[in-house]
C-alpha cells in the first residue's frame, strides 16, 4: 500500500484541487438545509412569497455551485485514478520487460499478465470510488457537526450522543466483515485456479477417468465460496437496516428534544427541519466511510500483488560501454558457473571452452544438464555467477549489452511468433530490414515457398503465438527472424525438431553457406544431427563430460557412448 501511496502522491496538486472542490461542494451541501429551514421559517410559515423566491433563487445558486463542484470532482477524480492506473501499468510493464529469464519464471507468465492488467483495473476502480465519494466523508462529518452545533448547541448533544454508537457498530461490523471479504476473494481465486487446471488438463483428467474426483474438488471450492459469500452478504444485509434504524432513532430523539425547545421558544420549526437534514448528512458520511471497507479488501489484494512485482529486484546487469568494432572471432568460457538464485547447487559448474568463428559447436546432454542455461549465458539472458566469458578476449560484461545482442541470432526451443504479418514477424529481428533481406532470410530458412503459398503471401496475418501455423512453419519463421539480423553468433536451441528430414537438410546446407565465417552453436537431442560438428560439448549434470569430435568422443567418452547406445541400440551407428 505504501508504494501505491507514492503513485497517488505524484498527483498531489490534483489531489489538492480535489480537496478544495470537495470542500466547497460539502459547503454547498451543508448550506442548503439552512436555506431550506429559512424558507420554512421566514417564508412558508409567515406566507412571505417574495422571501421564498429570493431564498429559492439563492438555493438554486448554491445548488448550482454544488453541481459545478461535483462535475469538477468527477473530472479530477477520474483524471487522477486513471493516471495512477496508467502510471502503475507503465511501471510494471517497463519493470517486467527488464526481468531476467529467471525472474520471469519465478512469478509465472500468466500471473504477471493478470498483475499488469486486472489487478491495476481493480486499483483504479477503488481509487475512483475513494476520490469521488469517500473524500467527502470527513468534510461532511465535520461540517455537519459544526453546522448542527452552531444551529443549536443543546440539541446537537443528541448527535454527539448518537455518533459513538454508530461508530462502534461500524467498527464491529467491519472487524467481522473485513476478513470475510478477504476470504471471498481468496476462495474465488481458488475456484478459478481449479477450473483453469481442469480446462488445461482436460485430456489427462479424462484419460485417468477422474472427472468425478475433479468435479468433487470443484464442488468443494464452490461450496466454500458460496458459504462465505452468504455470510458476507448476510452481514451486509444486517448493516444497512441497522444503520437506518440508528439514524431514524436519532432523528426521533431530535424531534423530541427539539419539540421541547420549540415549546420554550428557543428554536424555530425550520431550524428543526434543517437539523434533521444535518443528522442525515452526518450519518450518510459515516455510512459512506464504512462502504470503503467493502471495496478495500479487493483492492488491497491487488495492491499487494502489484507491489510484489514492482519491488522485485531484477537481476540487475551492468550494461557495459565498449563496442565491438572488429568481427567476433572467439568467445571463450573460463571456469564459468551458474547458480539460480536461491538454488542449492550450481546448475553449471566449471565450464571452459572456446567458440571460434567458422566452426560449428554442438551441445548435447540430458534433461537438466544445463544446455539451455549454458546457451542463455551468451546473450547474457542469464549472468554467469562465477568465472569469466570473453568475446575477442574482452570480458563480456564490458561490452555494451545492446551492441552484444545485436550480433546474436538466437532461436529458442519454443518457436514463438507475434500477431502481425509474416513480414512484420521477420522484421522483429531487424527493424529496418529491406524487402530483399527478408526474402533472403525466408529462403535460407526454407520458409519462402510456404509463405508464398499463403493467401496474402508476405502480408499474411499470423495469429497470436502463431496459432494458425504448423510447428514446422513456426520454427522456420523464427529461424528466418534470427537470420535477418545477419548475426555473427548463431544460437540454435533444439530449433530443428519439428522439421522433416528433407527440409532440415536443405536448411542446414544453406545455413552453413550463409554463415561459413560465423560462430554457430547448436543444442541438439539427436546425435545424428551433430555428427559433423567441429566440436561437440557433452554436458552431464552441469559439468562438461567431454569435448571433441564425434569420432573422438564415441571412442573415449562414456557419457557420449551411453547417449549413442540409447539412440541407436547396442550396435552403434549403422
Amino acid at each position: 500500500m505504501r508504494k501505491l501511496a507514492q503513485y497517488i502522491a505524484t498527483y498531489k496538486r490534483y489531489i489538492f484541487i480535489l480537496f478544495v472542490l470537495v470542500f466547497f461542494q460539502t459547503l454547498s451541501q451543508l448550506y442548503l438545509p439552512t436555506l431550506m429551514g429559512d424558507i420554512v421559517d421566514n417564508g412558508v410559515v409567515v406566507g412571505n412569497i417574495p422571501y421564498i423566491w429570493k431564498i429559492g433563487a439563492l438555493m438554486l445558486f448554491v445548488a448550482a455551485i454544488g453541481v459545478v463542484m461535483s462535475i469538477g470532482i468527477s473530472y479530477y477524480a477520474s483524471h487522477v485514478a486513471m493516471r495512477v492506473g496508467r502510471d502503475i501499468r507503465n511501471d510494471i510493464f517497463t519493470h517486467v520487460t527488464d526481468f531476467s529469464v529467471h525472474d520471469f519464471a519465478q512469478v509465472g507468465t500468466a500471473s504477471l499478465i493478470t498483475r499488469t492488467t486486472n489487478d491495476v483495473t481493480q486499483i483504479q476502480q477503488a481509487l475512483v470510488m475513494v476520490l469521488r465519494m469517500f473524500l467527502m466523508a470527513p468534510f461532511m462529518l465535520l461540517g455537519g457537526v459544526l453546522m448542527a452545533v452552531s444551529k443549536d448547541f443543546m440539541l446537537s448533544l443528541v448527535i454527539l450522543f448518537a455518533v459513538p454508537f454508530i461508530a462502534v457498530a461500524i467498527y464491529f461490523i467491519m472487524k467481522k466483515g473485513y476478513p470475510l471479504f478477504q476470504a471471498v476473494q481468496k476462495r474465488l481465486d481458488r475456484l478459478n485456479t481449479i477450473l483453469r487446471e481442469n480446462l488445461t488438463g482436460i485430456r489427462v483428467v479424462r484419460a485417468f477417468a477422474k472427472e468425478r474426483a475433479e468435479q468433487k474438488r470443484l464442488q468443494r471450492a464452490n461450496e466454500n465460496l458460496t458459504d462465505v459469500s452468504i455470510t458476507v452478504n448476510r452481514l451486509m444485509a444486517f448493516t444497512m437496516p441497522l444503520m437506518m434504524l440508528l439514524m431514524n432513532v436519532t432523528i426521533i430523539l431530535i424531534i423530541w428534544f427539539g419539540s421541547v425547545r420549540i415549546d420554550v421558544g428557543t428554536m424555530q420549526i425550520g431550524d428543526l427541519m434543517a437539523f434533521i437534514q444535518y443528522v442525515m448528512l452526518i450519518l450518510m458520511a459515516l455510512m459512506m466511510a464504512s462502504m470503503m471497507f467493502v471495496i478495500l479488501p479487493r483492492a488491497s489484494v491487488s495492491a499487494k500483488r502489484i507491489e510484489e512485482v514492482l519491488t522485485m529486484k531484477t537481476s540487475k546487469q551492468t550494461i557495459g560501454t565498449e563496442t565491438l568494432t572488429e568481427p567476433i572471432q572467439t568467445i571463450s568460457f573460463q571456469n564459468v558457473a551458474y547458480r539460480y538464485p536461491n538454488a542449492q547447487r550450481n546448475t553449471l559448474e566449471n565450464i571452459s571452452f572456446t567458440l571460434e568463428a567458422g566452426k560449428v559447436t554442438a551441445i548435447i546432454g540430458g534433461t537438466g544438464s544445463g544446455k539451455t542455461t549454458l546457451i542463455q549465458l551468451i546473450p547474457r539472458l542469464l549472468e554467469a555467477t562465477a568465472g569469466t566469458i570473453t568475446v575477442n578476449g574482452k570480458d563480456i560484461k564490458l561490452i555494451h549489452l545492446d551492441r552484444l545482442r545485436e550480433k546474436i541470432g538466437y532461436v529458442p526451443q519454443r518457436a514463438l511468433l507475434f500477431s502481425g504479418t509474416v513480414k512484420e514477424n521477420v522484421r522483429f529481428g531487424k527493424d529496418n530490414a529491406s524487402e530483399e533481406e527478408i526474402v533472403h532470410a525466408l529462403q535460407i530458412a526454407q520458409a519462402d515457398s510456404f509463405v508464398r503459398e499463403l493467401d496474402l503471401g508476405y502480408e499474411s496475418f499470423i495469429e497470436q503465438g502463431g496459432a494458425n501455423l504448423s510447428g514446422g512453419q513456426k520454427q522456420r519463421l523464427s529461424i528466418a527472424r534470427a537470420l535477418v539480423r545477419q548475426p555473427q553468433i548463431y544460437l540454435f536451441d533444439d530449433s530443428f525438431s519439428a522439421l522433416d528430414y528433407e527440409t532440415d537438410k536443405k536448411l542446414r546446407h544453406r545455413l552453413l553457406q550463409e554463415a561459413s565465417d560465423k560462430i554457430m552453436v547448436i543444442v541438439a537431442q539427436r546425435v545424428s544431427t551433430i555428427i559433423d560438428a567441429d566440436q561437440i560439448i557433452v554436458l552431464d549434470k552441469g559439468r562438461i563430460a567431454g569435448i571433441g569430435t564425434h569420432k573422438h568422443l564415441s571412442e573415449t567418452n562414456d557419457v557420449y557412448k551411453e547417449i549413442i547406445t540409447s539412440q541407436y541400440g547396442k550396435g552403434g551407428i549403422a
Binding site: 507468465t109 488445461t200 472427472e211
Partner: protein, 626 residues
C-alpha cells in the same frame, strides 16, 4: 508489432478478465441476442426458490410500506409541535405543545422504523442465500456439463473463453441478483408508495414533483448514451492492451534477445495512453450523472417550497405535511436514479446469462448410460484390440478411411509416421476422446462405444505429450493416477519412473508444492512425474504418446527399462519419433496421411523398400550440416 486493423483486434474479446460485472453503476452496452428466451430461462433458476421469493417480496412490500409511512407520521408530529407552539404565541390561554401526544406519535414512529429495519434485514438475509445458492447451482451445472462436453469443443475453443463464461459471466449474474434485483423491487414499491403518499398530501404539489421525472430523464439519457459509448471504447482499448501484454510477456525471451524492449514499451505506452483517455472520459461522464440528478431534485424543491408557501397562506396544507412532502421528493429521486440504469444492467446480465447458456447447450458426448453388465473389469481385461473398418475425420472430410488393425493381448505396438499422419488420432479414437464416424473398435471383442467412457479409460494408462500437473504437492500429483494409493505405492512408482532421485533432493521432498505453472521443476522432471503417475494407475493397456521425446536421451535410457517392465504382459502403444526406441516392437504401424501404409516388425519393414525404410535411413544416416 505495429498496430493492425480493427478486424484483428476483435479477437481480443474481453475474455482476459476485464471485469464485466458492474463495478461502477455504468456498464458498456452488451446486448443479448435473444432477450426473451434467455430471460425466461434465467427465471427457471428461480423456481426452486419461488416460495422463499414470494415471502421475500411480501416482506419487501411490508418493510417498504412501513418506511414510506414514516415521513408522514413525522410530518404530523411536526405539525402538532408547530401548532402547539404557534398557539402558545398567539393565544396565551393555550397549553402549548401537547407532549403526551408527541411522545405517542414518536413512539409509534419508532415502532414503524424498528419493523421496517427488521423486515429489510430479513429480506436482505434471505436474498443473500437465495442468490448465492442460485449461482452455486449454476456453477454446479456448468461443472457437470464440462465433463460431458466432447473434447472436440475444447480443442476448438480457447480456454480463456470458457473460463470467462464460468467466472466473469456468472459473477455478473450473481451481483445483479444480489444487488440489483433486490433494490429494483424495493425501488418500485417505494416509488409507488411515495407517489400515493404525495398524492394524498397534495395533488398539486405532486404534479410539480412529477414534472422533474421527465426532466431528469431528458437530461440523463444523452449522458447515459455517451457513457455507454465511452465505456465501450474503454473495454476495447483494455482488450487491446491485454493482448499486447500477453504477447510481450509470453515472448519475453524474443523481446530481450532481439533488443525490442524499447519498441515494445513504446507501443504499450501508446495503448496505455489511449486506455487512460477512454477510461477518464467514461468515468467522468458516469460521475456527473448523480450530481445532475440532485440538482434537478433541488429545482423541484424550490418550486415546491414556493407553491407550498402559497398553500400555507391559504391554510390548505399543514407545515408538517410540507416537511413530509419534501422528504418524499428527496426519497423519490433516489430509487428513480437507481432504476435509471437498470435497463443496462439487466441487458448485460442477460447477455452474460446467454453466454453461460451457450456453454450449457454445447452438444454433449453421446454417452453410454445403460452399461452392459460386467463389461470390462480392469483386472480381467486381456487387451485384445481390434480396429474394424474404422473411418474418421475431425470435420466433414474423412482423415481416416477403412482402417484395420489387429492387436493381440500383450503386444507392443509402435506407431510411426510424419507429423499429421494421424498417430494421435488413433489414440484419440481408442480413448474415445473422439468417436469413430464409421466402423468400430473392439477391446476383447466388446465394442468400445458400449462401454461407459470412464470405465474404458480406466483400463488404459496414458502418458500424454503435455505434462499436465496441478497446484498441489508432488505426492498428490502422482496419486492422481490412483486415489487410494498408499505413500509407499507412490514412492515405489516414483522410483520406477526414476523420479525418486530428483524428488528427494527437493527441500520438501514428496511434499514439495508445485506452483500453478509447475515452473519450480524442469520439463524433464515434469515428464518423469507424469510417467510415475501412469505407473501408479497400473492399467492393463498402456499408451505412450510421444512421451519419451521430451525426456533427454540419458534419462530416457532408464525410463525405457522401467517402461519395458511396465509393458510386460500389457498391450501397449508407443508413438515415437525416434525409431531406435521401437525396434523391438511386436508390431509397427507406419502411418501417412491418416492411413496405415505399412505394418509389420522392424525387420520385415526394412526388407520392404517403403516409407519405414525411408524414415529409418533418414534418421540414422542423417548428417549434421554438411
Amino acid at each position: 508489432m505495429t498496430k493492425h486493423n480493427d478486424g484483428s483486434n476483435k479477437r481480443h474479446r474481453p475474455a482476459h478478465g476485464a471485469p464485466r460485472g458492474h463495478g461502477g453503476m455504468f456498464v458498456g452496452l452488451d446486448k443479448p441476442k435473444n432477450f426473451r428466451a434467455t430471460f425466461r430461462r434465467l427465471l427457471t433458476y428461480l423456481r426452486p426458490f419461488r416460495l422463499r421469493l414470494t415471502f421475500v417480496l411480501l416482506i419487501a412490500v411490508l418493510g417498504t410500506a412501513f418506511s414510506v409511512i414514516g415521513p408522514i407520521v413525522m410530518g404530523k408530529t411536526i405539525t402538532i409541535i408547530f401548532e402547539g407552539a404557534y398557539d402558545a404565541v398567539t393565544n396565551s390561554a393555550a397549553r402549548g405543545v401537547d407532549f403526551e401526544l408527541v411522545a405517542k406519535m414518536l413512539l409509534f414512529l419508532a415502532g414503524l422504523y424498528v419493523f421496517s429495519s427488521l423486515f429489510q434485514f430479513v429480506q436482505g438475509y434471505m436474498i443473500a442465500s437465495i442468490s448465492q445458492r442460485l449461482v452455486y447451482n449454476m456453477r454446479e451445472q456448468i461443472f457437470t456439463k464440462l465433463n460431458r462436453i466432447p473434447l472436440a469443443h475444447f480443442d476448438k475453443t480457447p480456454h480463456g473463453d470458457t473460463l470467462s463464461r464460468v467466472t466473469n459471466d456468472v459473477d455478473t449474474i450473481a451481483s445483479t441478483l444480489q444487488q440489483t434485483v433486490n433494490s429494483f423491487f424495493t425501488s418500485i414499491i417505494t416509488v409507488i408508495g411515495i407517489a400515493i403518499m404525495m398524492f394524498v398530501i397534495s395533488p398539486l404539489l405532486t404534479i410539480i414533483a412529477l414534472i422533474s421525472i421527465p426532466l431528469s430523464v431528458f437530461v440523463i439519457r444523452p449522458l447515459l448514451k455517451r457513457s455507454q459509448k465511452y465505456f465501450g471504447n474503454q473495454q476495447r482499448t483494455l482488450g487491446e492492451l491485454n493482448g499486447h501484454v500477453e504477447e510481450m510477456y509470453t515472448g519475453h525471451i524474443e523481446v530481450t534477445t532481439f533488443g525490442r524492449e524499447e519498441a515494445s514499451i513504446a507501443q504499450f505506452r501508446n495503448v496505455n495512453d489511449e486506455l487512460y483517455e477512454a477510461g477518464r472520459r467514461a468515468q467522468f461522464i458516469s460521475g456527473i450523472v448523480m450530481p445532475v440528478m440532485n440538482f434537478i431534485g433541488n429545482i423541484s424543491y424550490v418550486l415546491i417550497s414556493i407553491v407550498a408557501g402559497i398553500l400555507v397562506i391559504q391554510r390548505t396544507i399543514a407545515i408538517g405535511d410540507i416537511q413530509a412532502f419534501i422528504t418524499y421528493t428527496k426519497q423519490f429521486t433516489q430509487p428513480i436514479s437507481q432504476t435509471a440504469n437498470i435497463a443496462n444492467i439487466i441487458q448485460s446480465t442477460i447477455a452474460a446469462a446467454e453466454r453461460v447458456f451457450q456453454l450449457l447447450d454445447v452438444e454433449e458426448e453421446k454417452g453410454v448410460t445403460a452399461t452392459k453388465e460386467m463389461l470390462l473389469r480392469t483386472d480381467e481385461v486381456k487387451g485384445n484390440i481390434r480396429f474394424d473398418d474404422v473411418s474418421f475425420g475431425y470435420d466433414d472430410t474423412l482423415l481416416m478411411r477403412n482402417l484395420h488393425i489387429d492387436v493381440t493381448s500383450g503386444q507392443k505396438v509402435a506407431i510411426v509416421g510424419p507429423t499429421g499422419a494421424g498417430k494421435t488420432t488413433l489414440v484419440n479414437l481408442l480413448m474415445r476422446f473422439y468417436d469413430v464416424k464409421d466402423g468400430a473398435i473392439y477391446i476383447d471383442d466388446i465394442d468400445i462405444t458400449t462401454i461407459p467412457r470412464a470405465e474404458l479409460r480406466q483400463t488404459i494408462g496414458m502418458v500424454l505429450q503435455d505434462t499436465w500437473l496441478f497446484k498441489g504437492t508432488i505426492k498428490e500429483n502422482i496419486r492422481f493416477g490412483k486415489e487410494t494409493a498408499t505413500d509407499e505405492e507412490v514412492i515405489a512408482a516414483a522410483k520406477a519412473a526414476y523420479a525418486d532421485d530428483f524428488i528427494t533432493k527437493l527441500p520438501d521432498g514428496y511434499d514439495t508444492v508445485l506452483n500453478e505453472e509447475a515452473s519450480n521443476i524442469s520439463q524433464g522432471q515434469k515428464q518423469l512425474l507424469t510417467i510415475a503417475r501412469a505407473m501408479l494407475a497400473n492399467a492393463p493397456i498402456m499408451i505412450l504418446d510421444e512421451a519419451t521425446s521430451s525426456v533427454d536421451t540419458r534419462t530416457e535410457l532408464f525410463i525405457q527399462r522401467a517402461m519395458s517392465e511396465l509393458m510386460k504382459g500389457r498391450t501397449s502403444f508407443i508413438i515415437a519419433h525416434r525409431l531406435s526406441t521401437i525396434q523391438d516392437a511386436d508390431l509397427i504401424l507406419v502411418m501417412d496421411e491418416g492411413q496405415i501404409v505399412e505394418q509389420g516388425t522392424h525387420e520385415a519393414l526394412l526388407q520392404r523398400d517403403g516409407l519405414y525404410k525411408t524414415l529409418y535411413t533418414s534418421q540414422f544416416a542423417g548428417k549434421a550440416p554438411a
